[in-house]
């Protein structure tokens, strides 16, 4: 039976982790390339206008996008964190901290918070990168969308990864034996 106290002592097989991370990254990239109506700010124009991508966008069902980016983003971040900190308390920090980070990135888009964040950013002194930073922050924070379903998607990603870890075999070559 899985015990919460055993959580920190378990670790996924590195090969499974890598495979899951690769699949999630491929799925995330695919969603952003063909599944969104507006192209990301950092995507080069030559990539946006590739015929194969334009063609795929016409067939991509809208329901496949929705909260999927939020889920995949959180899942990938948590996976990467676990790949770095596979055992011990740091594994817990990786999961909990990653979840809090993703939830924070969503909450800063809430209208009650986004204005204050944007205002603070406008006031930073100009160090040469001010305009670039402000553009990025304003595009994300002020023009962003706060959606409660995105929060659910993030928590589902955390739950899925937790279940994966809880149901996986411990890494016997690296497990820490308690006295």
């Amino acid at each position: 039976m899985f015990k919460l106290s055993d959580f920190s002592s378990r670790a996924c097989r590195s090969l499974t982790l890598t495979r899951h991370a690769a699949l999630a990254v491929i799925a995330g990239v695919l969603v952003y390339l063909v599944g969104r109506d507006q192209m990301p700010v950092l995507m080069p124009l030559w990539l946006q206008t590739q015929p194969v991508l334009v063609h795929l966008r016409n067939f991509w069902p809208d329901f496949l996008t929705l909260q999927l980016p939020s889920f995949l983003h959180a899942y990938i971040i948590l996976l990467m964190g676990i790949m770095v900190c596979r055992t011990g308390r740091l594994a817990t920090v990786a999961i909990m901290g990653g979840t809090v980070l993703c939830l924070t990135l969503e909450f800063v888009q809430h209208p009650s918070v986004s204005s204050a964040v944007a205002t603070a950013f406008v006031e930073v002194p100009d160090t040469g990168m001010r305009n670039v930073a402000i553009n990025a922050v304003l595009a994300y924070v002020v023009a962003g969308t706060f959606d409660y379903l995105d929060l659910v998607a993030i928590l589902l990603a955390t739950l899925l990864l937790t279940l994966q870890i809880a149901t996986s075999e411990p890494d016997r070559t690296r497990s820490v034996e308690r006295p």
Partner: protein, 337 residues
């Protein structure tokens, strides 16, 4: 050798920084999608607040007494559309101009006034089909009736015999010094309307751009100029949009009725609309568009320089430098039905 806790924490910090960069970098520029809106008819007025001038570097046209009144159907879910919808001008549209002797020759000079006498439609790459305009010059009225196919027009000068000629032939008649002066002036009046039609589309574009930027700046407390990327993140030359309050009448830092702005746009509208917008303008007495139908919006614009590509441009290309630039003052208002 196992990684130390410090190394793991450092790795975790890198992962989290990557998460932030990924989240921000994958954000698309356009704001939230508009709520579901049904298709609506929009009535607009572009009135002359002063002299409007069109210049392409070789010829100059100035227009006064312009009162463009028209309408277009905005498709569903569009707040402000720049798409290829036809714009129809109704019988309340009138305009006038002073033709200078050097434009295009010494013979063509004087003042004309013109009006739409039967509604006609314009569009990008769409010449008028059906409809009629009247031009008045030196006491003589000339009626120009556009055929249903758009291929020809019928001219009736001073109530005389109606003559039919090709549309392009009539459109270029003002340059032909061998033509009847009334015919040339009617041609000039039509070409002026073509420019004024462009102004009506420009003002629609301006309003959309201003609204989008104001939505982004709402409550930020912007008191100094701020240079932002307009919707051309990969353009060359670098796109920019600088907007600043010049007189915040309504509320400190919030966009409200009566506010004045100055705007400077460079190489915008390439990403979302495939156009090209470059402008330096003063916007006065801005009236917010309400969120619920019927929406009304208005402002007074003084264009110090305004260059707007009339047609969509392929990615990486630039508009014809000979296309007219617009300067002058015009008043815009639009109502949805």
């Amino acid at each position: 050798m196992h990684a130390t806790s410090f190394q793991k924490l450092a790795g975790l910090a890198i992962v989290w920084c990557a998460a932030i960069l990924l989240a921000v970098g994958s954000k698309s520029y356009d704001p939230d999608p508009a709520p579901v809106l049904p298709p609506v008819m929009v009535d607009f007025v572009v009135a002359n607040g002063g002299l409007i001038e069109f210049s392409n570097g070789t010829t100059d046209d100035s227009v006064n007494m312009a009162n463009l009144r028209g309408s277009f159907e905005k498709p569903a879910n569009d707040r402000i559309t720049l798409r290829e919808v036809p714009v129809s001008f109704d019988v309340n549209t009138s305009w006038a101009a002073s033709v200078l002797p050097a434009d295009p020759d010494e013979l063509l000079r004087g003042e004309f006034s013109a009006a739409v006498t039967d509604p006609l439609e314009f569009g990008f790459d769409r010449q008028p089909a059906i409809g009629q305009i009247r031009s008045d010059f030196a006491g003589t009225s000339t009626l120009v009736t556009f055929s249903a196919t758009g291929a020809s027009v019928t001219l009736q000068i001073g109530g005389g015999v109606a003559q039919t000629q090709g549309f392009q032939d009539f459109r270029n008649a003002y340059t032909d010094s061998n033509r009847d002066l009334n015919e040339r002036m009617a041609s000039k009046a039509y070409r002026t309307l073509e420019n004024l039609w462009l102004v009506s589309r420009i003002s629609e574009t301006l309003h959309r751009e201003i609204e989008q930027q104001l939505q982004m700046f709402e409550s930020v407390g912007l008191q100094s100029s701020l240079e932002l990327e307009c919707d051309n993140p990969n353009g060359t030359p670098a796109p920019s949009h600088v907007m600043r309050w010049s007189n915040d009448v309504s509320d400190a830092g919030n966009a409200g009725n009566g506010d004045n702005f100055t705007v400077n746009w460079r190489n915008c509208l390439r990403n979302a609309d495939g156009r090209y917008l470059e402008a330096d303008m003063n916007i006065e007495n801005y009236q917010l568009a309400n969120d619920t139908a019927p929406r009304m919006m208005s402002y007074t614009a003084e264009a110090l320089s305004l260059f707007f590509a009339a047609r969509e441009l392929p990615a990486g290309s630039f508009p014809d430098e000979n296309q007219e630039r617009v300067t002058g003052r015009f008043i815009v208002s639009a109502n949805e039905q």
